[in-house]
């Protein structure tokens, strides 16, 4: 179960960001931002390796989450990309994507 899910464009701004409503949502946003550095590190370490789905999943900051979750997220993301009315770089406003994210977020009473 996730507490925060974010999709970041290659220009380092968020296309989609959602967190479980708590007081320190900003902390999640900072965590996402700092994780971008880790992503950059991993990408430069990979060199010219073939980018397949397994390698897109660069690893976890903390070894807790499911690979399945990433896969689901990525599949939904590619469906968004295939929408002819979606322009790359736009914020993501999709009910199907929201529903998928909802199913993965932790339920907070």
């Amino acid at each position: 179960m996730a507490v925060c899910i974010a999709v970041i464009a290659k220009e380092n701004y968020p296309l989609y960001i959602r967190s479980v409503p708590t007081e320190n949502e900003l902390k999640f946003h900072y965590t996402v931002h700092t994780s971008l550095d880790v992503v950059d590190e991993k990408i430069s370490a990979m060199g010219k390796a073939m980018v397949d789905q397994r390698e897109l999943y660069l690893g976890l900051l903390y070894p807790t989450e499911d690979y399945k979750m990433f896969r689901k997220l990525h599949n939904s993301y590619t469906d968004i990309m295939c929408n002819p009315f979606y322009n790359p770089g736009d914020r993501i406003h999709s009910r199907a994507f929201d529903n998928m994210v909802n199913s993965m977020m932790m339920q907070v009473c």
Partner: protein, 180 residues
């Protein structure tokens, strides 16, 4: 191009994604080129017409169909053979007039809208699949059947189903004319 009739279509399979994305790119570009939804719709219809008048020959060459003797048979042919052959789906057909010249095709699945969740807000009256209407109209015209084909309902616009209405415009006077 001469091909033996009844040849299987399997060797012509191409990627469904590529086809759907191509169609989407076409519609998206038309939306950029034309401000009004009506203009996009009419452009799609014209393009479809151009495809239909050519596709009919391919259809007749590849499907081992007998002559249709009534509008009802024609509508069935479109739904059960043509749609199946080209889009891999089989809409259900119903006759919606006592005169027997108006029919509805209800599409349960529509591959063209695989990746389109809903129409953009500023394109509320866009008939995304209007190309299909033009194709049907053009194909029917080539077998001497004048018809009006429009979308009566569209899931993308929030309706419960996607429904194409075909209205045959006059009795086929020449019964010997080959019907689709």
């Amino acid at each position: 191009m001469s091909r033996p009739p009844g040849r299987k279509q399997d060797s012509h399979k191409i990627s469904r994604e590529l086809f759907v994305l191509t169609y989407g790119a076409l519609v998206a570009q038309l939306c950029k080129d034309y401000e009004k939804d009506e203009d996009v719709n009419s452009c799609l219809d014209k393009m479809g017409y151009g495809i239909g008048i050519r596709l009919i020959d391919d259809f007749l060459a590849h499907s081992d169909v007998k002559r249709c003797r009534s509008y009802s048979e024609t509508a069935d042919m479109i739904a059960q053979v043509a749609f199946k052959m080209y889009l891999g789906v089989t809409p259900s057909v119903s006759c919606s007039s006592a005169a027997g010249n108006e029919f509805s095709l209800i599409l349960d699945k529509n591959p063209l809208v695989d990746f389109v969740e809903e129409l953009p807000v500023e394109r509320a009256s866009l008939c995304y699949c209007n190309l299909l209407c033009g194709v049907i109209r053009g194909a029917l015209e080539m077998v001497h059947l004048a018809a009006e084909v429009t979308f009566l309902q569209d899931r993308l616009k929030g309706d419960a189903v996607t429904e194409i209405g075909i209205t045959f415009l006059r009795k086929a006077e020449d019964k010997k004319a080959k019907k689709k």
